[in-house]
Subunit: 190 residues, 4 copies
DNA sequence: GATGAATGAGTGTTCATTCAT
DNA sequence: CATGAATGAACACTCATTCAT
């Protein structure tokens, strides 16, 4: 008996990401995924019950992976500002390096494919930054604004700077990252 | 040839915006637009050559309208910082009040419906903020960073703060706007 | 504007009946119906929401038509036995003449396509014969057995005799009908 | 070559009958048969060349079994009428007890799965009753009608009475059987 | 101009059958 | 022999677009 091939799932995920970046989530279709993944279209349904489930599964994997990756550098024994700097740098590099994956995530969230479990991950991803900002406020380093607003400012700014680089087909220079962090820190510091 | 009825175009636009906010751009279909606009589905093709053209036309109208609206408050005879403050306030209130229209704009940009003329408007919209930032640098008020990065920080931060309010079904308080501008100004000021 | 064409529904019904007699209800598919009806396959969905609804609609039309046709000859002012004779003759001729329609009805009932409203018609069709049998019992002409059993005997016998003729590609001779009624009457008469 | 495991064939047959009664012959699929039979789906193809052959094989087994069972009680040394009575009783009890199997037989005959060899069994099953009726005519006990018509009347009536009981979820009472035979005998006796 | 009936290419999904293990 | 992963033809259904009225 042939065993379920774990590489197939990877190939399906890779094909899906590639296609979404080429034709958008709305232009995605199962036939094309199969073809690009190098497997029969029917095989998709061996691994995923439906298109919706395929999208949700991929979304969850990516969202969990990146939520985890983003906070990887955080180390509470480091000075607060350095922690923030590493976080921002790491965040931006991650957005840039995996922009295809983040594009998929964003299009999924705007689409009506995601179920409530998937959407919850979107909320959960903010827990870490909220906690970090609260700690900054405790240390009287960070402005006494609602953390949602502080976080939104940080995330929105960083996202847009990375998006601008990608749109203009530029690389994400270390200068840009440096500038981004300076602006970010100035915006939230007390 | 009789002139096309401008009320019908308005109804089509309104129906499209409403539907996109309900079912997403991917879920949009011509039949539903006709029905919601109170006109026959075939009539859509009297006013728009195709679905793609309908979306492009609506996109252009909205994008031009909002690019113009956003810069309405700018008055170079005012003090620089006040100018910026009015701009940010106006920008955020506009995003909040017309969030359905901005949702349509965003989904359109991510989709593959827009032609190059439409996409150019996305670029053009930044001209005003770039000019304003350059003026700030000339006055030694604004950091000497690339204006694209300064603008991205401003726009991204403001967008995300408004998006957070909408996602959480809150109103956009004057406090939030105040906080947002403080962060924005701190981030770009020299 | 083109008006919905009532002939199309007739053509769809005719095509469906023809196809079911050729390939069975299980072999029926929408593409083939469209082709045989001389219309585009998509047009089927202008007239019927789904395959299931098409089958239910056709089933209901046929079942109501034949339930009505079968009882057309009944006239309570006639002598009881003559009434029964006309009923049986009419029933058998109807089964034979419209055997394609009755084949469709039978396959539909066995399939899982019919909804409860449709299935109810199957029950309703027996009301007339039950009433007639009760009247026969009142006149002490008919055996004092449960009417369901008397009716089942009548209907089953007649159906099978017609089915045998059709299976063997024979015509339904007036002799056969005469024999059938004699047997039928002998079986139920007191 | 090892002999095919007869238990597996039994399990496949049982699973098929069960499934057909649940979802109809049209809803039957090989995957489900395998699962319900407790064997791998691919294993079905060790025992049967195709779905069609599986159905034909099961049909033949059941049809031969029941044709044989039905005539089990016939004993030409018994009085003719008693012979007929035992036949009808036995026939009806068999239809009722094995209604799942008879349902499968009926759906198979209406479907286009059966090959000509299988269909011939349908014809062969009538040989016994035809012979019996001819003997009755020789003894001047049975009406001088074509035996096909006499047989159709008997079989159709009995089938429908049993079907009515099953449809209405009732048991087949000995009264019903008694009534059925009385009607049957009255209908064919000279 | 205004309409919606008509259309068929395209979509997600199923399933009998094959085949590598 | 036994298995179930793999496959693609076939299916029900959708929808942008056309066109007769």
């Amino acid at each position: 008996m042939k065993l379920k091939d774990p590489d197939k799932i990877k190939a399906i995920h890779a094909a899906t990401l590639q296609l979404v970046s080429e034709v958008g989530l709305a232009g995605l279709n199962m036939n094309a995924i199969g073809k690009k993944a190098g497997i029969g279209m029917g095989t998709l349904y061996v691994y995923f019950k439906s298109k919706e489930e395929l999208i949700n599964a991929l979304y969850r994997e990516l969202k969990l992976k990146h939520t985890s990756l983003i906070y990887h550098t955080v180390d509470m024994s480091l000075p607060y500002k350095l922690n923030m700097q590493l976080l921002v740098e790491n965040y931006m590099k991650n957005r840039f390096k995996y922009f295809q994956e983040h594009l998929f995530i964003e299009q999924s969230v705007l689409s009506h494919f995601l179920d409530s479990t998937s959407l919850q991950l979107e909320v959960d991803a903010y827990a870490g930054i909220y906690a970090l900002l609260k700690e900054g406020q405790r240390q009287l380093l960070v402005k006494d604004f609602p953390v949602e607003i502080l976080a939104a400012q940080m995330v929105g700014g960083a996202n847009e700077i990375v998006a601008d680089a990608i749109r203009k087909n530029k690389k994400l220079s270390s200068n840009s990252i440096q500038y981004a962090f300076e602006m970010c820190w100035d915006s939230i510091q007390r």
